[in-house]
Symmetry: C2
Subunit: 397 residues, 2 copies
Amino acid sequence: ATTFRASEHQHIRYNPLQDEWVLVSAHRMKRPWQGQVEPPLLMTVPRHDPHNPLCPGATRANGEVNPYYDGTFLFDNDFPALQPDAPNPGLGLSTRLGPAPGTAKPISLSFLPPTPPSKVMCFHPWSDVTLPLMSVPEIRTVVDAWASVTEELGARYPWVQIFENKGAMMGCSNPHPHCQVWASSFLPDIAQREERSQRAYQSQHGEPLLMEYGRQELLRKERLVLTSEHWLVLVPFWAVWPFQTLLLPRRHVRRLPELTPAERDGESSSWDPGARHRMGIALVGPASWPQAESQALIPDLASIMKKLLTKYDNLFETSFPYSMGWHGAPTGSEAEANWDHWQLHAHYYPPLLRSATVRKFMVGYEMLAQAQRDLTPEQAAERLRMLPEVHYCLGQQ
Amino acid sequence: ATTFRASEHQHIRYNPLQDEWVLVSAHRMKRPWQGQVEPPLLMTVPRHDPHNPLCPGATRANGEVNPYYDGTFLFDNDFPALQPDAPNPGLGLSTRLGPAPGTAKPISLSFLPPTPPSKVMCFHPWSDVTLPLMSVPEIRTVVDAWASVTEELGARYPWVQIFENKGAMMGCSNPHPHCQVWASSFLPDIAQREERSQRAYQSQHGEPLLMEYGRQELLRKERLVLTSEHWLVLVPFWAVWPFQTLLLPRRHVRRLPELTPAERDGESSSWDPGARHRMGIALVGPASWPQAESQALIPDLASIMKKLLTKYDNLFETSFPYSMGWHGAPTGSEAEANWDHWQLHAHYYPPLLRSATVRKFMVGYEMLAQAQRDLTPEQAAERLRMLPEVHYCLGQQ
Ligand SMILES: O=P(O)(O)O[C@H]1O[C@H](CO)[C@@H](O)[C@H](O)[C@H]1O
Ligand SMILES: O=P(O)(O)O[C@H]1O[C@H](CO)[C@@H](O)[C@H](O)[C@H]1O
């Protein structure tokens, strides 16, 4: 009998967090690729474009003028998916075809509080940077802004979804570095799955699922990508996207605002203040724009994120596209209930598979049957581990 | 209080078949699109290319030479995702992080029977046709081939997934008209969800979920796209993709091979034998290639599929990309168990949203929280209903 090798032999793996399975067919990487090749990324984004509605000083679709912000900037989405004052639908199929009693979400989204729950957050005043090219202190302001918006919208909404779509390949329609925040009066499907799995695990084993999972990965090491005093980055055992990662705090933390100063302040910066000059980017712009590179104390989370995203960019020497987002315990009026089974985490879902222009397509089999991946999570973790932590655009002296 | 209008006001809808929710934010169609535009489709596919491994007479990666087939042609995938003889993995996390007992799939895929369960099916000997450009009798041979392969692989496997990825945008790497068939020794995730929902519905209401659903849609009409004596096509109430449709037989049918002659023979053809000439395609090729256009009796299923796919192509005057696939009752060694809760159906998942080059991106919020759509299913159904049933490439005299 042949010995099993995950990189040679198909198998299926279970995702205990979202109660799903993935088919791993690593031998498929051997097939030639004759399909769609994405257009190469053109690095022609101007630092400041007065017609870009995300830029400082620009006028947005609703006529409002952006301030000359110098850190992050949060505003209401001009084309929100979630409206604050939608009336009661009262439409639907017969109740026979509704959800099973007890599992139902409210079908109506009416009676939402009057604050628009759909926001855009600019990470930086410049359009030509991305998180891995920002300084660690600059990324720290993003982390702080994420924590505040979670607190602000979480006061009224049970779910606050922070997500970043990076790159045109991920449907991002504006190159200015930004994320979105959509709050809702219901737990979205994936939140619901994570809620069910984590609650069941805690009640059976008396500790949070992701605490146990992180511990196992720290021992096994083969799927670890980065570790710091307070955080881990790993390719989960059940990863679906080729270079998918999971970012986890080591301590039991339920939500972003709970992060302690120790978790926010870590090792000292490897940021090189001359880097932007060497990229041919002159340090111009309104005098109030950030010049924070000289700060000494830098945050742990911001630093590990910068390292991860640098590795991502280095993998195929491109500005690596992805969707990422944070999941933490539900908020809103029941925030004070027992959510100890929740562990804060971020998912990174990047689409590229073979090169800067050849992506994984989640189509046919994946849409109709089950997720399927073409290299093992261990192979992906190893490739990411080996990559330098200095950005390929910043490395050459 | 404002009156609810689905096309103006956000709401969420439940999918009773897959136990999922979708956020409908139709007002988002008003926002301008500045994001990625897909490359326009180049119609430069040669009818016959001896280097294309799907063409009649071509040599494939494993050295085998294709016959000069004149209808459909089925062969083993040279780069299969599912290998017949994979050894037992015996890898994994601690069992604590495994699936709940009782809900488990076999984690090992070993001990599969020795027939390769991953196949490719060519629809036609010509590379420059697609299903909507094929004649109804030609499509009928595809339907028959789907039924046979379900029977053949279903004798040994509990799940036989037939799926077609059409278009480069859907990860299709070969323009020759074809689909794939992946059989597995387990029920894939989505099959599992449909199994659970349909079983629960039947045991509660005494009839198949999709029979009741089809009846409701026939009465309401607003989501119907096409009907024939034996079939319906509708945009499901819970559609996620902009122009997603569901193809359902009117009678209770569990699997493709069960379709009766009546369901396979329907109204007479609207096929125009001169059409290919007008498209500038000369009728050349080995003498044995199909000349079936003159047949009079044509199949109902083939005919409604041709109409649906013609409407799809007409929507944006392009060869409409999609992934589609069939779902029917599980097969394999338990095929004789009671699967009466299952109703055969096909899902069509097309990505285009605004034009031939602007697609819907299922990214950030959709990957991390919940599916979200930007026009209502009723709006989509109405647009599809209004479109001509003659293909835009064949219409001009
Ligand atoms: O087998 P193909 O057509 O080369 O590959 C395509 O379909 C497969 C099944 O849906 C997907 O896993 C691949 O990502 C896609 O590119
Ligand atoms: O709001 P944006 O960035 O214009 O739109 C993008 O993100 C949304 C949320 O993930 C998606 O629904 C859209 O399909 C995508 O293009």
